[in-house]
Symmetry: none
Subunit: 410 residues, 2 copies
């Protein structure tokens, strides 16, 4: 038996998005509708009703982990997602290259949306060093202003505030302990020390002199946010005895896949943007399943980004690209021996432009599924779905159809 | 007001079970369908979506207890189910009479499916004795190779592994503590001592010499499994102020009924097998309700056993017998004053032959119930049921219709 989970990030919408319809209702989606015809549909609250999910907490919940119990923060997934090594007890942060003036007033949180030369910044930041000799520091740049940093040593804590004012025109703020513990005080102190160090390391680098001479903002400081200790998450293999692959382009989703023990692979010409050649993810998934993997997780980012940009036409067009991905899977999976779930990780209405708590349509297809009468797949049609309304746990339900669950009790 | 819960064990199936239909869809069930016509239907996840239930955890959840909080293991229900006395702090095990060679290699985990003479084995095992003088040992044989053992004394733990390799052709394995505690270490040690003692007590008994002379495997050792301390479960009477009766034939279900404080009664000519005269359970339930009981729980085992045997025809035939049970209840209960719930404790597809996590159809009938439009009762028809999808808690819902619930809050 094989299992496939396809997540279209930000899939769900609202009737206010497009003349009384959602983008998913407007889009032409013959293949996604074929899933509805073959399978059982319903509504998914990614975490539970009335909870507005982040992408990280939503994915954990969909994979069957209780975010209330395991979620420690986003930093660790970002660090894992850009290929960093993260060990038990490590504290991870997302970082931004940013611009401050000589009084540490924040002029731009993304250093003028820097795109080039961050490798030079990364090389220079290898000299970051804590005054506490038992703590090691690892920094890696990723795309544009983004990066991640990992602190390794005994007695560190993720319970500290961001060293990031989250707005411009104000002074940098210091990281503070969120709990009364020596570990939190010590970790916040190290972060504040590293932020200041980053300024001294970065401000006079040739790339920044060049940027200033061109009238661009220098990338002269690191902001730290999303402190997170590595969560204690049993892997998919430990829980279910299966080997899986995660196919994603965005760092966060790669990081989540790594955190739950999936091998991660990048499909050719995929970017995490709306222009990504996402059909290649479907091709890679089919190959991986043919080459022995039991489970493939495909993450498709674009619909969410279009909705964040309030662009209904773009979201509709992206959903029609997703329909081609589903079409490829319909044509190329062994449907006598495969179960598939298709859904979103949350609703992102175009008008609102950010995640909301509204449930998302979900469909399960495969030989062991009792189909319902629903023949189209959208927020309105699945209200009559046989699946009813579920809270997270899409992957345990999917694996149940595959007969992969251990019995609880006797 | 009266309440009746009828559990058809392993009721649920999959469309792969019988030419695209489930056994329940194929079976001729005019009476069960009459429940659907009169009542409200829906889907029951015995524990929650994506959890594959054991029979014990599923029943606890259906009765309204959270197995995550109260479940300790199966042994205690087996011991209660064969009529043993179980007190707070006791550790209970299911046991098998098994066959080992002189090097303790396991030749058969059921001693050649022994059926006769186990009373002699039971008598001999009354001499089992721990070297720890404060610990008492109680053993009782039940049907065929089955039995239960209870350890009584201070500072015992159920957190130990089975003294049962769960396969043949390998050496006996020792029970080990699952947690780092003196109680667990001590209990595992007692178990290992008793296993060895059982061999010395049993191996030369006349019944075993006779079996060997007939070319049968001797029942020369006890396997211990499912260690469980008595769970802390408030009774139905404490929770709801009602008096109930449990009518079952299988030891596990009798044990669960006893654990939640139901009086248990055995109907005449009932066996727990597919050949059981289950109509007598319905007759006994009606009598008990007429004689003052508020609540009757009827457990019907056969459908699950047929599904474990991959026998669709037998499962269909058994469901048709269950239909007669429902017919008797329809004819003989006072429907102006009775609420009834009918469901399964889990889905057991014939093709897979074991419990799966797929939800089970459920129906509630009675004067306080708002009926839906569903007119047949099966896995497909209830997808349009008005009950929606519920997780466990069938009995609290049933008792709610009976106005038996205490107010939570003020």
């Amino acid at each position: 038996m094989k299992a496939v989970l396809v997540i279209c990030d930000g899939l769900g919408g609202r009737p206010t998005d497009y003349n009384g319809k959602t983008c998913l209702e407007v889009a032409n989606t013959p293949n996604i509708d074929e899933l509805a015809r073959r399978g059982i549909t319903g509504l998914l609250d990614p975490i539970k009703p009335g909870v507005r999910p982040g992408s990280d907490t939503a994915h954990l919940s969909i994979f069957g982990y209780d975010p209330e119990k395991v979620y420690t923060g986003r930093g660790v997934f970002e660090a894992l997602g850009i290929g960093m090594d993260v060990q038990d007890g490590d504290v991870c942060f997302r970082t931004n290259f940013a611009t401050v003036d000589e009084n540490f007033n924040v002029l731009d949180r993304r250093a003028g949306r820097i795109t080039e030369g961050t490798d030079e910044l990364e090389r220079a930041l290898q000299s970051l060093k804590s005054s506490q000799p038992d703590v090691e520091i690892f920094f890696k740049a990723s795309t544009e202003h983004r990066g991640a940093i990992v602190l390794r040593g005994h007695g560190l804590s993720g319970q500290i505030t961001d060293a990031d004012p989250h707005k411009t025109g104000v002074r940098m703020i210091r990281s503070e302990p969120l709990v009364d513990s020596e570990a939190a005080r010590r970790t916040a102190e190290i972060v504040n020390e590293l932020v200041e160090q980053s300024y001294h390391i970065l401000k006079d680098l040739p790339i920044n002199r060049k940027r200033e001479s061109e009238g661009k903002l220098p990338a002269n400081i690191l902001l730290f946010r999303g402190a997170a200790v590595k969560p204690d998450i049993p892997s998919m293999e430990e829980l279910y005895g299966i080997k899986g692959v995660g196919i994603a382009a965005g760092a966060l989703y790669i990081g989540i896949a790594r955190a739950i023990g999936l091998e991660t692979k990048r499909a050719e010409e995929t970017t995490g943007g709306a222009d990504s050649k996402i059909i290649n993810k479907a091709k890679l998934a089919v190959e991986e399943l043919q080459n022995g993997k039991d489970f493939a997780f495909i993450h498709l980012k674009g619909a969410d980004s279009c909705a964040h940009d309030h662009d209904a036409e773009a979201k509709i067009a992206y959903i029609e690209k997703v329909d081609e991905v589903i079409g490829y899977l319909l044509d190329n999976l062994d449907w006598d021996d495969t179960h598939l779930a298709f859904t979103g990780d949350h609703t992102t209405p175009v008008v609102y432009g950010d995640h909301v708590s509204d449930p998302v349509p979900v469909v399960f297809v495969g030989p062991n599924i009792m189909p319902d009468d629903v023949e189209r797949f959208n927020e309105r049609s699945v209200l009559k779905g046989g699946m009813g309304r579920i809270s997270g746990r899409v992957v345990p339900i999917l694996f149940g159809y595959c007969n992969w669950l251990k019995k609880y009790g006797a």
